[in-house]
């Protein structure tokens, strides 16, 4: 049989149904805000993680940007990995694939349209080691180039299109010919973002930009991803043995960094959702205070015939709990529907929606909603239980 104080609370909620319903709607909104935002964040993280984790076998090596010379006292900069460092990297990397990369930004003209983008210089034979072509072929001729998908779409590029490289109105600009088009790659975790880029052979690149034996980045594609830490350590021991001259990172650390950033964003939007719960808490507090004030006489009766203070407190906490249960229950159901819609609309992929990392935001949101209700009811319950029974009885 149910606790009579619970029955009293249920009846009080029923008696003031509309008021209770409105207060619970506040909790519904709060739970939906927290759960949906949480699920959106979780799905974003899971989606990005999935996209990036296919490239975790790549170690990225770049030069430490600034080194201070030991004798002159003035800083000299090193903006690339040198040839000798590359050789050391190759030695340390063993049989793993090492890809030196040149990179800069450039202006270009296609027909009469000017544009701007990245330009990469690779050994043409390296291209196929980590990129696949959508259309055409890798650069075979000296002036051949491969272009990214966005560039191709935006400028209607096809195999054979010619591109003038360099600022407009410059005399004798070199021209390249599109030999192949890459598929969309998105935000690549190996640091090579090709979608808006032109990829030329390293010979063409160094002829134009110099820096023949200096590379902006060197990627090592590890055959066995489990050995990635060992390869990094070997390279570090070999190249950085005296001073820190190169920086070694891999996609996993970048992945961690990105997921951490997304985690921070998720926490931020959760906090925004939490504000609605604060508003709901004020609403519940208000309703509970009204309930106490309307039932002063009843509280007087209860206390005068021997009801313990704790029992009066319990009765009002039950009432807050019931409002929380209603709000959290409806909020939980709405969260599933709204959360699914939001994730579908904003991420375009609901593959991860029902995974524990995502769906657990619903019970968490519900629990927070219930706790908020109970906490909001603590003061009104305390106030009710500490009334003077004589004053309360006189309050008619």
């Amino acid at each position: 049989m149910r606790d009579i104080f619970f029955d009293l609370s249920v009846r009080s909620v029923r008696l003031n149904f509309m008021r209770s319903l409105l207060a619970s709607i506040g909790i519904v909104i709060g739970v939906v805000a927290i759960s949906s935002m949480g699920m959106l964040g979780a799905n974003m993280q899971l989606s990005v993680k999935q996209q990036l984790s296919s490239d975790v076998n790549t170690v990225m090596i770049s030069s430490d940007v600034v080194r201070t010379t030991s004798n002159a006292g003035t800083p000299s900069t090193s903006e690339g990995v040198t040839k000798s460092q590359l050789n050391d990297i190759k030695n340390a990397a063993g049989t793993n694939v090492v890809i030196p990369i040149h990179r800069t930004n450039t202006q270009f003209t296609i027909g009469s349209t000017d544009g701007r983008g990245s330009i990469y210089g690779f050994d043409p034979n390296d291209i196929e080691k980590f990129l696949t072509l959508d259309v055409g072929d890798i650069p075979r001729g000296a002036n051949d180039a491969v272009v990214g998908s966005n560039l191709a779409t935006n400028f209607n590029l096809v195999v054979g299109t010619r591109i003038k490289i360099g600022p407009p109105n410059t005399a004798d600009r070199p021209t390249i010919r599109v030999s192949g088009i890459l598929p969309a790659r998105g935000f690549a975790s190996d640091g090579i973002n090709t979608d808006n880029a032109i990829i030329v052979g390293d010979t063409w690149y160094t002829n134009q930009y110099g820096d023949k034996d200096v590379y902006n980045q060197v990627n090592v594609i590890v055959k066995n991803v489990d050995t990635i830490s060992a390869v990094e350590t070997a390279i570090d021991d070999k190249v950085n043995r005296k001073t820190q001259v190169i920086r070694i990172s891999d996609a996993s650390s970048r992945l961690t960094s990105i997921t951490q950033t997304l985690g921070t964003i998720t926490t931020f939007i959760l906090a925004i959702g939490g504000i609605s719960l604060v508003v709901a808490a004020v609403s519940i507090f208000n309703v509970m205070m009204m309930s106490v004030n309307e039932r002063v006489h009843e509280i007087g009766i209860l206390l005068s015939i021997g009801t313990e203070k704790g029992e009066v407190r319990r009765m009002f906490l039950y009432e807050a709990f019931i409002l929380g249960i209603i709000g959290a229950g409806v909020g939980g159901i709405c969260s599933l529907v709204i959360g699914y819609s939001v994730v579908s609309a904003m991420i375009g992929n609901t593959t991860y929606f029902f995974l524990p990392d995502s769906i657990l935001y619903v019970p968490e949101g519900m629990l927070i909603g219930i706790v908020v209700c109970i906490v909001s009811g603590v003061y009104p319950a305390w106030k009710a239980s500490n009334m003077d029974p004589i004053d309360a009885l006189r309050s008619e």
Binding site: I4, L8, I301, I305, G306, E308, K309, L393
Partner: protein, 226 residues
Amino acid sequence: MSENPLIRLVDVTKVYHLESGDFTALNHVSLDIMENEFVAIMGPSGSGKSTMMNQLGILDVPTSGELFIDGKNVALMTQLERTHMRRDTIGYVFQKFYLIPLLSAYENVEYPLILRYKHRDATGKAADVLKSVGFDKEMSSHRPNQLSGGQQQRVAIARALVNDPKIILCDEPTGNLDRKTGLQIMDLLVGLHQRGKTVILVTHDAKIAEYAHRTIELDDGRVVGS
């Protein structure tokens, strides 16, 4: 008279501290009420009857003096002990019935049993007590606002009796009832006294006070006749 009264007031004074100044509602009152007495407390408005009821019902404590109920000094009891004494030793019958509006007639009677035993009544005691005060069983599920004044007062008396208290405190129990119903209620109280209960009745109606075996008259916070 027995040497151990059920209720003993020794020089009890109750002072209310009001903005307009201190107001002495009970002024050095001393009296004994023995077990199985039927006592009426009478007095004009403002004489201290309600304050006396609050003291006897341990809803309040004296400012000075000592109040003993069932041998225990009320001032020395904890708040929880006083709550338990209100629940177990004293049954209240109020002029305005003071039933719990959200509970049915039956649940109102069952309520003190739940307070005492911490579970719903499975013994049928609540129903038996309701029956003993002449309450129509078919009305048990009705809420107080669906009952007449007489029916509500019967429920209130059943509620006061259900934990088998030694003392029944009645504050103008017929004040809100027509004469016929009032007399029925008084017959019930007489019956309770005959069954061994100590009945204390606050009234300003001399006819009602005649049911009691002793009348304590209050005036200006003092006992002026007993």
